[in-house]
Each structure stands twice: as C-alpha cells, then as structure tokens.
C-alpha cells in the first residue's frame, strides 16, 4: 500500500515537487512569523521576579533625579539598586544603531547573573574607568576584540566640545536568559556622570533604577513603598516587576500578535487550498485505478485510507522540510533582524505547532477527494478514461 502511495506521488514528479515546495515555503513562513511573536513574549517569561524597575510614572522619556537612589536604597526589602541610563549614541554613522546603557557596573553584574562574561573579565571591566561590556553578537558584528578602543558619537549626551566618547572593550558577554539581548553595550555610570558634570548640562538624571529585592521579600509592599516615597514629586515614579515591564513593552508595540495571526491565517488558507487542489487532481487521475482496486475486492475504506495517506505523505514531507529550513535559517534571520527582534529563536512550541498544522493540512486536504473516491461506484470508475 505504501509503495502505491509513493509510486503515485512520484508519477507526477513535478506536481508533487511543486506542492511540497509550496508547503516548504508556507511552513517556513509560519514558523518565522510565530517566532516573531514568541520572541517578543520571551523577554516577559525570562524576566525574574526579584527585580523591580523604577521609572517615571509620567513618561519613558522622563528621567528621575539622582538623589532618588539613596531614598530607594533605604526602603525596607530593597537589597541593591542599579542605575541605568539610555545613552543613545552611535558608532561611526547614524545607521549603525545598537542599545547603550550607563550602569553601575558591579551592581549590574550582581543583579543580573544571567549576563555571563565569556571573554575579558569582570575585574578588568570594573578596574577600567572607560571600560565597556558588549554582547557577543555585537562584538562579532563590528569585529571588536578585548582591548579595542571604541569611540561613540553622542546624540543625547553631548560633550561641550562635541567630541566623541571613548571606551575600551573589557568584556564580552552572553546571556543565559533573554533578559537583555546580546547586542547591547554597557559602560560605567561613574564615567558617564563625571563626564556630564564637566559639561554645561551638568549632573545627569537616571532613566531607570533596577531594584533587587531581598530574598523572600514580598514585592507588592516594596513597590508600594517606593511609589509612595515620591507621591508628591518632584517626579512621581512607577515601580513594576521586570515581567510586567516587559509585558507592557510588548503591549506598546500595538497589535503585532493580531497582525501576525491574520497574516498566518492567509498563508494557511492559501496553502490549504493549494494542497486540496493537488489532491483533487491526483484523485481524478486515479479514478480508474480506484475502480480496478475496488473490483479486485478492496473496500471503500481502504481506498479512503490510500488517498488520505497520499495527501499526508506529501504534506508531511513538505511541512517537515519547511520547519527544518526555518530552523536552519534561524541564525541568519536572528542576525538580520537583530535590531528589531533581539533574541530571535524558534521555540519547541512553534516547531510542534508547525508539525501539527502540517498533519492537519495533510488530513483535511486529503479528506474530500478521499471521500469522493471511496464513494465512487466501480462500474463508473472503470468507465472513466483518465
């Protein structure tokens, strides 16, 4: 029986190839699309619950006074506080964009055990005032090595003479969880603060305080206490758990999951119709064969099985190839889309969904022609010429 399936499919090699080809393309596309959504959500799941983000309650573009640090540190349940400021400079030209943050280096590495230094060292980074830490993908992109001097041209935090900020690469990191992506640039808050103090802008403000709570401390009262501290200004703050913050960030992107679902639906519909088309053509050509087999004593059910199996074989081949292709292409896409979708990675869930869809299409596409074939009266089937 299986031999008959394979022979029938290879009889029309071109048609089978084209059908498999369109399935490859469709499943590839579906995997990539779904991965965009899961990647957006991945940050939410990786976020750790003992970290809080304290930011302005008004706007993501409003900073908080430096003096808040001491007050937050004094709150019951707070273990450590790390200042984080978006630096927003560029390297070489305006198109070479990547995220840069001024952070309290030592505290930052304590709070984020997920950030692991794989080249250079923590000690080297901490000892060098202008030292910086970059993600592995970023270092690879610009072919940076430990000890390299990296000048960045500031857009937001300009020196009075307009000169570039100098950095020295002291460490390359990888992340064990996508809490930060591996194309970010971190440097010392002290260097940032001291340099800014020398300019007419003066002492810089802080974009975000990342707070690590004490082991076992309940988050809710800590967040409430911090928010309460600055209830009457000068800048009100909003504390959120890291997971909530990430979720909000996804929500800010708008209806992306909806768009992706709509597009995916279109892809599925197109590919399903294409498969039904192929299976109907195949079944029509096999009408006489089906008549013969029925005359020989094969039952309606076994004919139904034959055609369904044929459809399944075709779809599963194409689908699995498509999923495999998506897995193979993953690093390339991750590289190309790094700045929009950091941490692009196909999850096991996406792969399994792809397999399930493949099987679903296979069964459904085969079912109509198979049912028709099984209902065929053999007297008529034998009379058909095709």
């Amino acid at each position: 029986m299986l031999r008959l399936v394979v022979r029938n499919l290879t009889k029309h090699k071109l048609r089978s190839l084209l059908t498999v080809g369109s399935l490859v393309v469709a499943l590839f596309l579906l995997c990539i699309l779904r991965t965009l959504v899961t990647t957006l959500e991945a940050g939410t799941q990786a976020a750790k619950s003992n970290r809080l983000w304290v930011q302005s309650a008004v706007s993501l573009f409003v900073d908080l006074p430096l003096a808040y640090e001491a007050k937050i540190d004094a709150v019951e349940g707070v273990e450590k506080t790390c200042k984080v400021q978006w630096f927003g400079a560029y390297y070489q030209n305006e198109d070479s964009f990547f995220g840069q943050f001024a952070v309290d280096g030592d505290t930052f590495l304590d709070i984020y055990p997920e950030v692991v230094i794989v080249a250079g060292s923590r000690a080297g980074f901490l000892a060098n005032r202008i030292g910086c830490l970059v993600g592995k993908a970023l270092a690879k992109k610009y072919k940076w090595e430990i000890g390299d001097r990296i000048p960045l041209i500031a857009a937001l935090f300009q020196k009075d003479d307009g000169s570039a900020w100098d950095f020295e690469l002291e460490g390359i990191y990888e992340v064990t969880e996508p809490v930060w992506d591996d194309r970010t640039f971190f440097f010392h808050w002290d260097y940032f603060e001291k340099t800014m103090e020398a300019t007419t802008t003066g002492q810089p403000d802080v974009g975000t305080f990342v707070v690590q709570t004490r082991q076992g401390a309940d988050q809710v009262p800590v967040m409430a206490a911090i928010d309460q501290l600055f209830e009457h200004g000068p800048q009100r703050v909003q504390s959120t758990t890291e997971a909530d913050f990430q979720a909000q960030f996804v929500s800010m992107m708008g209806n992306i999951p909806f768009f992706v679902a709509a597009i995916g639906g279109g892809v599925l519909l197109a590919i399903f119709l294409a498969c039904v088309n192929t299976m109907i053509m195949a079944a029509r050509e096999q009408t006489r064969d089906i008549g013969i087999m029925k005359a020989l004593g094969f039952t309606d059910r076994s004919m139904f099985r034959l055609l369904t199996l044929q459809s399944m074989t075709l779809c599963v081949t194409g689908g699995l190839l498509g999923i495999g292709l998506a897995l193979l292409a993953e690093p390339w896409i991750a590289h190309g889309m790094g700045s929009f979708f950091p941490g692009f990675a196909i999850t096991a869930g996406t792969r399994d969904l792809g397999i399930a869809l493949t099987l679903g299409i296979g069964v459904l596409a085969g079912i109509v022609p198979a049912w028709q074939a099984s209902r065929l009266r053999c007297v008529e089937a034998l009379r058909s010429m095709e």
Binding site: P234, Q248, M385
Partner: protein
C-alpha cells in the same frame, strides 16, 4: 492564427473546482500583501496628506523629531519674533506658537500600557489650525487652567479620556473638558495649555515652534539660512516634510514586510498556479494534438496557455481585493517607531494598493503559466494525439 479566447474560458469552467481553488489560493496571497500595503498607505497618508505646506516646524538643530528637540522658552519666543518670514495677524502678532510634546505612559482600555502623545499649545495654535480642528464634544480648555482636550481617536481606546475624567500628569491632575476631531495626524493626541504642561511635566522648555510663513517664502532658503544662524539656530521643515520624516521607520518595516510576504507567499502561489495549468495541459494534450494537426503553430498555443494563466491570476487578484475590501477603513493601533507613540490609523485601500495588488496577481499568473505553456508549445502533434 490565434486560439480563440472562448477556448480558455471554457477550459477554466470545465475544471472549475481546480480553477476555484487556485483562484482562492492566489486570492489569499494577494489579500495578505494588499492588507499590509493598505496598512502602510493608511499610516503614510495620515501623516503626509494632512501635513501642510504653509506651516513650518522649527526644531533644535541636530534633532530628528519633537522628542529630542528642545528650546528654552526665551529662545523660542525670540525665534518667533525675529524671523521675518513668519506671517503676522491683524494685530501684528506673529502667527506662531510654542509647543511642548511628550509621550506619556497611559493605559489602554484593554489593559496594556502604551505611550500617548501629549502636547502643550498656545492660543495661537488654534488660529494656525483654523478649520483643521473641531471641538465635537464639550468645550476647549481655558488658557492657564489645568484642563485638557483629547483627540477623538483616543476616547474609546485609552483610559481616562472621557469628558469629566481626570488625567494625572506627574503630581498635577488635569480635567478632560472636551473632545476634538481632526483628519490631521494629531488626532491621537492630548492637548492642554503650554505653560501648565511645562510646569506639570517639569519640562525645561517647549519642543518646537510651529509657524505660518509669509506667502511666497521659500522654506528651503529659510531652512538653509537658519541652520547656521548665530542668534536663533534652528532646523526648519515644512509640516509635510516633518510628518513624512516621522513615518519612515514604520513605513520601511511595513513595506519590507509586504515585500517579504509577497515573495514568499508568491512562490507558493506560483507553484499552485503551475500545478493547475499542468493539469489543464494534461487534460487537453489530446486537443492540443488536434489543434497542432489542424495547422495551429506552437506560438499561439503558448500564448493561449499564458493567457489562461493570466486570467487565473487576474481572477485571483480580483478575489484577493474583494477579500481585502472589508478591512478598508478599519482602524487599528500601531507603534510609530519614530515617535515611540501609539497612533491609530485606518487600513486604506488606495488606487495604488489596487494597482499593485493586480500587478502582483498577474505576475503570479504569468510565472505560474510559463512552464506549462512552454511544455504545451513543445508537444509534438503525434505524441499529443497518442496520449489520452
């Protein structure tokens, strides 16, 4: 001698199940691509169509949008008064206004957080915007009062945007007193008094100056002059230029997405069309043999098959457009990556979208028909007649 067109129509009709499936498969592909293009058009048109040529925007040199442009209040006022190209009203007041701008954290009705643009304006703004903006509910805010009006598109999407609600900005509560409607790009914004906003938000100064130019002024010459001006250096753009520069990121993403989906889904659709035309060829090789035997040349047979494939593509394009039409006008929200705020805009099926969709569909048909048509033209009459 060409093969009669009715022959193609009949052929599509005879295998109507296959034809329909193919048409819908192409249709779904065209619909997805057209949908993305309609989204891009809706977004781009919202910004560019509404941008006025007679208004100019003054930004701090080096900044690309209002968010990173900032003036001191005095610098802004000085600019308004000293630039001779700015038009005057009857009372010899410059037709110019200081505006501050900030993307503030707000909650959507559905629960998630988002960024909404808030704008502090001076009374002159309403003179400049004469006819562009209309209060459709409640009243305008009083100058100097802690009151705001909200764009109509926000009312049902963002929390606390109904009349009587209170919007807390840092420590100051602002009362919502009116709803305004406009076709321009600021219909997803919250507006209030400039000075009250600056104070409540603890801003250093306004973000831009909006002004009307004396008729006949060349904005480009003005821009060139002011960029290196020693007293009041500024980057000058017409409002239209400014707005279209604000759509670049998202437009680029959407156009890229449309092209990416078009190519990938197009491959699958071409394969489907090829399959269908191959089965048409198989079913008709006997007839082709007869045509060849009666003296038809291979070229008309090739053309006949291509025509049939194009027809298939055209039908698919039509179905695709029909599938997309219902989304025309539907509003959705997306993040404008330039301003980092969420803007509401509608899918817009413009003639450009239609033309592109049809061309795309025809291309799919053309590519799908090429191989089967070539095969048909190369059939030898005897071989074709032998096959049943």
């Amino acid at each position: 001698m060409l093969v009669p067109f009715s022959y193609n129509l009949r052929s599509l009709f005879v295998r109507r199940a296959s034809t329909l499936l193919t048409v819908f498969a192409i249709g779904a592909t065209v619909a997805v691509v057209a949908g993305v293009l309609a989204l891009q058009q809706g977004f781009a048109l919202l910004y560019t169509e509404s941008g006025r040529e007679d208004l100019v925007v003054f930004l701090r040199p080096g900044s690309t949008n209002e968010g990173d442009s900032i003036f001191s209040r005095d610098r802004g006022l000085k600019l308004m008064k000293t630039v001779p190209e700015i038009a005057m009203d009857e009372g010899q007041q410059p037709l110019a206004s200081l505006e501050c701008y900030l993307a503030v954290r707000r909650f959507k009705m559905t629960g998630g957080e988002t960024n909404v643009a808030i704008r502090g304006v001076q009374p002159m703004t309403f003179t400049l915007r004469e006819g562009e903006l209309e209060i459709v509910e409640g009243r305008n805010f009083q100058p100097g009062a802690d009151e705001v009006i909200v764009g109509r598109k926000l009312v049902d999407r963002i929390q606390d945007c109904h009349i009587g609600d209170v919007i807390q900005l840092n420590t100051t509560p602002f009362k919502v007193v009116g709803v305004f409607a406009t076709d321009a790009s600021f219909d997803s914004e919250i507006w209030g008094d400039l000075d009250r906003m600056l104070q409540a938000l603890k801003r250093y100064g306004p973000n831009r100056v909006l002004a009307k130019l004396v008729p006949g002024t060349d904005p480009e010459a003005l821009a060139e002059r002011l960029l290196s001006d020693r007293e009041v250096p500024a980057k000058v753009l017409t409002e239209r230029e400014y707005l279209s520069s604000q759509t670049k990121q998202l437009s680029k993403i959407l156009v890229f997405l449309g092209a990416f989906l078009g190519v990938i889904m197009g491959i699958a659709a071409v394969f489907t069309a090829t399959n269908t035309m191959l089965s048409a060829l198989a079913a008709r090789s006997h007839e082709i043999g007869i045509l060849l035997a009666t003296g038809f040349r291979p070229v008309p047979i090739f053309l006949s098959f291509m025509l049939e494939a194009l027809l298939l593509g055209l039908l698919g394009g039509g179905v695709g457009i029909l599938m997309t039409l219902p989304i025309n006008g539907i509003e959705t929200g997306a993040m404008n990556f330039n301003t980092f705020t969420e803007v509401a805009f509608a899918f817009r099926i413009t003639p450009q979208v239609l033309v592109r969709a049809i061309l795309f569909a025809l291309t799919l048909g053309l590519l799908g028909g090429a191989l089967p048509a070539w095969r048909a033209a190369r059939l030898s009459p005897t071989e074709a007649l032998r096959r049943t």
